[in-house]
């Protein structure tokens, strides 16, 4: 068991993190390049960058927007995100592993606070899951992966949380093995699932604005490609 754990935190973790980070960097690089090409294709139209990034920032810190629509859901989503980001990035045990493996580390938030945050995140994440199942519009919108990701994240939080509680009936090593493997699974799927939004978020609104910048002559070229040089009637 110890060997498994050591492996999971060692070579395996390095591989997983490399996939996650390179995968996400690839998304950002490809998206930036594609945005650049698209902007160059339709140079005449203006882009209101201030407005676009202002809105993006406002949604990044949506405190004043939570009440606008589905308040309970929005609040749960907000707390869930705070929990996921802060516990994964600022937990002393995580930082210790990073230091051990890569020699890098940073400030850790006291574990007592993150314990509490983990509980909040579990409640918030479960609410998101229940809402998805309960609200019929959301249920019909959902794909298997939408449930799967929430369940996976909840599993990671439960196991991490319980591992820190000596009184619990499940052996520490089992919890940690589950935690590490499910944590790694999440890291692996981040670039290949909707969670890629964690890095694409700043570009999506820009992409929407760029999408309305139609390329000159593109319409005619589409018709020619489909029907040859003689084109088609309306």
């Amino acid at each position: 068991m110890d060997l498994w754990l050591a492996l999971a935190k060692g070579v395996f973790l390095r591989f997983v993190l490399a996939v996650t980070i390179l995968g996400l960097l690839r998304h950002v690089a490809l998206s930036l390049a594609a945005l650049w090409v698209a902007i160059r294709r339709a140079p005449a139209q203006s882009l209101d960058l201030r407005q676009i990034f202002g809105e993006t920032l406002a949604w990044l810190f949506p405190i004043r927007r939570l009440h606008r629509n589905r308040f309970g859901y929005s609040l749960a989503s907000f707390l869930f995100h705070v929990g996921v980001l802060f516990t994964s990035l600022f937990l002393v045990n995580h930082i210790d592993i990073l230091r051990d493996q890569f020699g890098i580390g940073w400030y850790a938030i006291p574990k007592g606070i993150l314990d509490l945050l983990a509980v909040v995140t579990i409640i918030a994440g479960s609410s998101l899951l229940l809402f998805r199942i309960y609200a019929s519009s959301s249920r019909q919108l959902s794909q298997l992966s939408d449930y799967g990701l929430l369940v996976l994240i909840l599993g990671i939080f439960w196991s991490g949380f319980l591992a820190g509680r000596p009184g619990n009936p499940i052996p520490y090593a089992w919890l940690m093995l589950f935690h590490t493997l499910s944590g790694a699974a999440l890291l692996l799927v981040i670039p290949y699932s909707k969670i890629a939004h964690c890095v694409l978020f700043p570009l999506i609104r820009l992409g929407s604005a760029v999408g309305w910048r139609l390329a000159p002559l593109a319409g005619g070229k589409v018709v020619q490609r489909l029907h040859g040089p003689e084109g088609r009637q309306i």
């Binding site: 809105e55 629509n69 519009s137 019909q140 909707k194 992409g207 390329a215 490609r225 489909l226």
Partner: protein, 465 residues
């Protein structure tokens, strides 16, 4: 994004004969069957060609990778609020197209498709898109509420574009555009030039008779400052709006003209096809060039104003001209004191409906309001209003499709009718030909004691000479 389609499409029998059962009457252009036997094939070929030539790929990549399907857009969509059908949730609709994109145009999707043999587009999928992209009024209200910034209106626009290249487009739009671009009269209402000239003469006389104002509708004035393009249907249906505009121009001495070779501001391309959109913009610009004018002036019409303002810069090449809405012009003339209005002219309770195409982006919120407020002391806002207004329910070209009437009344326009009723207004004013038509139908359907008019209809009543 990878572009290689047609290689492993699902072969299906041709179900084209079922097309007539759709939500609207479908027009198929001659020769669309050359793209493939089934509509699935035509759809995918059209999709591939559009991706290759246009700017939509980057957008689909971003959306497909990150759409969280959180469902917040449901609450902001008036169609969903009225229908309570999950298929009307904007994100659901967008995901129909995103799923096709992922399956056929991304490496991961193609791989998964090959491994598991699923995710194929079926005829039923094309049917569903053909219906749902037109149950959306393209009002883009959901864009404000999407925390990720996904623009479902843009996806609906793209979905309609692909469908139309695949030979699936509403007859009501296509027939008008065919007349505008390939017909004898060159406009969507098929008004022959002599009839237009007669009509202008009639309007001039009517203006003298009803208001005592001597104003001209100048035609083909070389070198005028503005060339005027209203929604051409205004010449048939909105005499007061046009007379108000002519009266304002006359009283402020504006140099303007109507072009005899092309005089239609309507651009249904914005609703269903980018190729059409570009060709219509080129007609506007061509007529402006012919008459050597300095600016393009668009009448009271939401989509005409937006399409010209947004796409003249794109499609005019080196023949760039500023595009001005008549609302901006009149408001500026009033501000500069060149046009005088009676501040108490309209005593009725008045409310203002924002046309989505000019309001959602925040472009024309204040100018029309300032005009209306300055002559109607008893002005009230609907809630919500401005950027967050509700669509009239006839947006995205739906109002031109008579067969969607029940849907526009009972579903898409229901919230608007409730808003109007709650405002207790006697007059709803809105600067858009499409909104006016839809609102009048709503008012009569729900028996609301309200009159629907344009901004310049009221300006005409308030004009002091």
């Amino acid at each position: 994004m990878i572009l290689e389609t047609g290689t492993h499409l699902q072969r299906q029998p041709n179900l084209a004969h079922l097309e007539s059962k759709a939500f609207y009457h479908i027009d198929t252009y001659p020769g669309s069957d050359r793209l493939g036997g089934s509509r699935v094939e035509r759809f995918l070929f059209a999709f591939a060609a559009i991706l290759q030539q246009s700017n939509y790929g980057v957008l689909l990549d971003l959306y497909a990778r990150s759409s969280a399907r959180c469902g917040r857009c449901a609450v902001s969509c008036q169609v969903f609020q009225a229908s309570q059908e999950a298929r009307d949730v904007p994100c659901y609709r967008s995901n129909l197209l995103l799923d096709v994109y992922k399956r056929y145009f991304t490496m991961g999707g193609q791989l998964r498709g090959r491994l598991f043999g699923n995710g194929f587009l079926h005829e039923g999928g094309v049917d569903e898109m053909a219906e749902l992209f037109y149950r959306c009024t393209a009002c883009r209200r959901c864009h404000i509420e999407c925390p990720l910034g996904i623009d479902h209106g843009l996806i609906a626009h793209l979905g309609r574009y692909i469908l139309s290249e695949a030979g699936i487009a509403p007859k009501g739009l296509v027939v008008s555009v065919r007349e505008q671009l390939e017909g004898k009269t060159g406009n969507t209402s098929a008004i022959p030039l002599p009839a237009l000239l007669d009509n202008l003469e009639f309007l001039e006389e009517e203006l003298v008779d009803s208001s005592g104002i001597q104003a001209k509708f100048p035609v083909d004035v070389q070198g005028a400052e503005y060339i005027f393009f209203p929604a051409v249907s205004d010449y048939l249906m909105e005499a007061d709006t046009l007379m108000g505009i002519a009266a304002v121009c006359a009283s402020a001495g504006v140099s303007w003209t109507i072009g005899s070779q092309y005089f239609d501001g309507i651009n249904y391309g914005l609703f269903y096809n980018d190729w059409v959109l570009e060709r219509i913009i080129q007609k506007l610009v061509g007529e402006a060039q012919r008459l050597q004018v300095q600016k393009i002036l668009i009448g009271e019409c939401g989509h005409a104003a937006r399409s010209a303002r947004q796409y003249v810069p794109t499609f005019a090449g080196d023949q760039q001209l500023p595009v001005v809405s008549v609302l901006e012009l009149t408001e500026a003339l009033v501000r500069q004191g060149k046009v005088k209005l009676d501040p108490n002219a309209i005593s009725e309770r008045v409310t203002y409906h924002d046309p989505c195409n000019i309001a959602r982006s925040g472009w024309l919120l204040e100018p029309p309001r300032r005009l209306v407020r300055s002559i109607a002391p008893n002005f009230v806002e609907m809630r919500p209003f401005g950027k967050e207004n509700y669509c009239c329910g006839g947006g995205g070209g739906l109002v031109s499709l008579d067969e969607t009437h029940e849907f526009r009344m009972q579903v898409a326009g229901k919230l608007k009718a409730e808003q109007i009723q709650a405002s207790e207004a006697e007059i709803v004013v809105t600067p858009c030909a499409n909104c006016k038509k839809q609102l009048r139908e709503l008012v009569s359907y729900y028996h609301l004691p309200v009159q629907v008019v344009g901004v310049h209809d009221l300006v005409l009543r308030a004009l002091r000479l």
